[in-house]
């Protein structure tokens, strides 16, 4: 595991973000260093995907700063943003494969768009990436012929095709069987260490990620409620962390989207 030192690759400073009137995130501080794999955990709808989008520059913070590699994402020109994104890879929550191309062309897409490599080299690179996610044999399939887990693995291969310096994974483990899950987890770790990159992954898989990552942030109700190394997390007696790590139904994490209490609904039912 890499020590946290030097200039951080990603730094969020008191970030606030709202969709219209509805505040999704407030006062979020988060730091990721090169070499680190960082997990973001939190309940469904707590704003994890939104956080990744802020880091990727798809959304702009309403207050506070998002810095990636020393650059303020809020004040980048389009061309500077694109220059930065060439060194980022993002795995979307639902894969977002290009449905008019087969698996091979999907993974080759960033290589063809951004490099002038000869076709044979691209072919080798693509097959290598596909091999790493266990889908070299599926190169000729169309996205519609893949299962959900396979599509996500292809999307992962595409996200890392250009060997990025920063990788953003939105739930890389969702829909994977335990065997693929272990393999993909190792792949994420290995890629990160080999490239000296940084990875941020949103995940619900507490046990698998605690074995894998260097640091964990817990998001709830729009803020970071706890953070620490896996050892600190395991030992923590914070009620929130405890509920999450041990998957307890009762605790500070709300299961329900904010709503008036059920009793008030029942009152309205005519008798």
């Amino acid at each position: 595991m890499t020590p946290a030192s030097g200039n951080p690759l990603v730094r969020l400073n008191r970030v606030r973000f709202a969709y219209g009137e509805r505040e999704i995130l407030h006062d979020v501080d988060l730091t990721v260093h090169r070499g680190q794999v960082v997990a973001i955990m939190g309940g469904s709808g707590s704003g994890k995907t939104t956080l990744l989008r802020l880091i990727g520059g798809q959304l702009r913070a309403d207050a506070g700063t998002v810095e990636v590699d020393g650059q303020d994402m809020g004040h980048l020109s389009v061309s500077a943003l694109y220059a930065l994104r060439r060194r980022m890879g993002m795995l979307f929550q639902f894969g977002a494969l290009f449905t008019d191309m087969n698996v091979f062309d999907n993974v080759a897409f960033p290589l063809r768009e951004h490099t002038a490599l000869p076709a044979e080299l691209i072919r080798d690179l693509v097959l290598m990436k596909l091999h790493a996610v266990g889908l070299r044999g599926a190169a000729a399939l169309m996205p519609s012929e893949l299962s959900g887990g396979m599509a996500r693995r292809v999307a992962l291969a595409r996200a890392v095709a250009l060997d990025p310096m920063l990788m953003l994974y939105d739930e890389p483990f969702a829909g994977l069987d335990p065997i693929s899950l272990g393999t993909i987890g190792h792949l994420i770790r290995r890629l990160n260490d080999a490239l000296g990159a940084a990875s941020i992954m949103v995940t619900h898989d507490v046990q698998a990620s605690l074995d894998l990552v260097d640091y964990v942030y817990f998001v709830s109700e729009g803020g970071i409620v706890a953070h620490g190394t896996p050892a600190e997390i395991r030992a923590s007696d914070d009620p929130f962390v405890h509920q999450f790590v041990h998957a307890e139904a009762d605790g500070p994490v709300p299961f329900h989207y904010p709503a008036p209490p059920l009793a008030s609904l029942l009152d309205e039912v005519p008798t």
Partner: protein
């Protein structure tokens, strides 16, 4: 009364906003069009999807329109004893009006709706966002080639529609009814003016091509990213293309053919 006025006002402002969005979108589209021509295969692929795949419906419809024109034209012209002019009538109505307009309407419902659906679904499934995250501009890579594919296809389709229609008129007039073959063609050749009729007709079909393609890519790009949003966008493409074609046709005609 007040509420009605307010609604009309709101709708007008809404419409102006959309028009403004569309104009900005159009400029962005033109700005990022370079790639469509530098990477020609992208555009050629769209010409295939928009143009080549519309060919059958265009040719068949052209034939039927020509057949009808032959019948109706003969019926009217022979009352004045000038059935030899059938060739002129068929050719001029197709080249000036029916070719561009009917081909444009067919093109909007066949190719325009397909383009809207495709771009709308790409948006719904986050493919456009994914592309953007890979530092590839979706307007340059997805929208512009589809736009230019449509713009290039449309005049060619209209020309083929007219050719097929003239053939249909000839089938009815000359082969079935027995109008003199030589008169049919020579009168047509003598009266159809290249600049006045053919160039003007081509300008029309080009303008319709720009309008329909712009509407189709804009509606797809701008749609609500849901199944319902995509279906509404497709409907809007077909309906507003038809209205715009007919309105533009009137405007263009009144400028082009007023020296009658």
């Amino acid at each position: 009364m007040n509420a009605l006025l307010r609604r009309i006002g709101a709708m007008t402002i809404d419409g102006l906003w959309r028009l403004g969005f569309m104009a900005r979108f159009f400029f962005a589209l033109l700005r990022y069009s370079g790639q469509s021509f530098r990477r020609l295969p992208l555009t050629i692929r769209e010409i295939y999807f928009s143009g080549v795949l519309s060919l059958l419906i265009i040719l068949v419809s052209g034939l039927f329109v020509g057949l009808v024109l032959g019948l109706q034209g003969y019926d009217i012209l022979q009352r004045f004893g000038s059935s030899d002019a059938l060739g002129i009538m068929v050719a001029l109505s197709l080249l000036r009006e029916l070719g561009p307009v009917v081909a444009g309407l067919l093109f909007a419902s066949r190719a325009g709706s397909a383009v809207t659906a495709e771009i709308g679904l790409m948006k719904t499934t986050e493919q456009l966002q994914a592309m953007d995250m890979m530092a590839v501009n979706p307007i340059a890579r997805v929208v512009a080639p589809r736009f230019w594919g449509g713009v290039i296809s449309m005049p060619l389709l209209a020309a083929m529609f007219s050719a097929m229609g003239i053939f249909g008129g000839w089938l009815i007039g000359v082969v079935a009814i027995g109008v003199d073959d030589g008169a049919f063609w020579s009168q047509m050749r003598a009266s159809v003016d290249f600049r006045y009729d053919i160039v003007n007709g081509t300008i029309k079909s080009f303008v319709f091509g720009v309008a329909v393609s712009l509407i189709a890519v804009f509606e797809g790009y701008d749609c609500q990213p849901t199944a319902e949003g995509v279906s509404r966008a497709i409907t809007r493409t077909v309906v507003s293309s038809a209205l715009v074609i007919l309105a533009l046709d009137f405007v263009l005609t009144s400028f082009m053919f007023r020296g009658l």
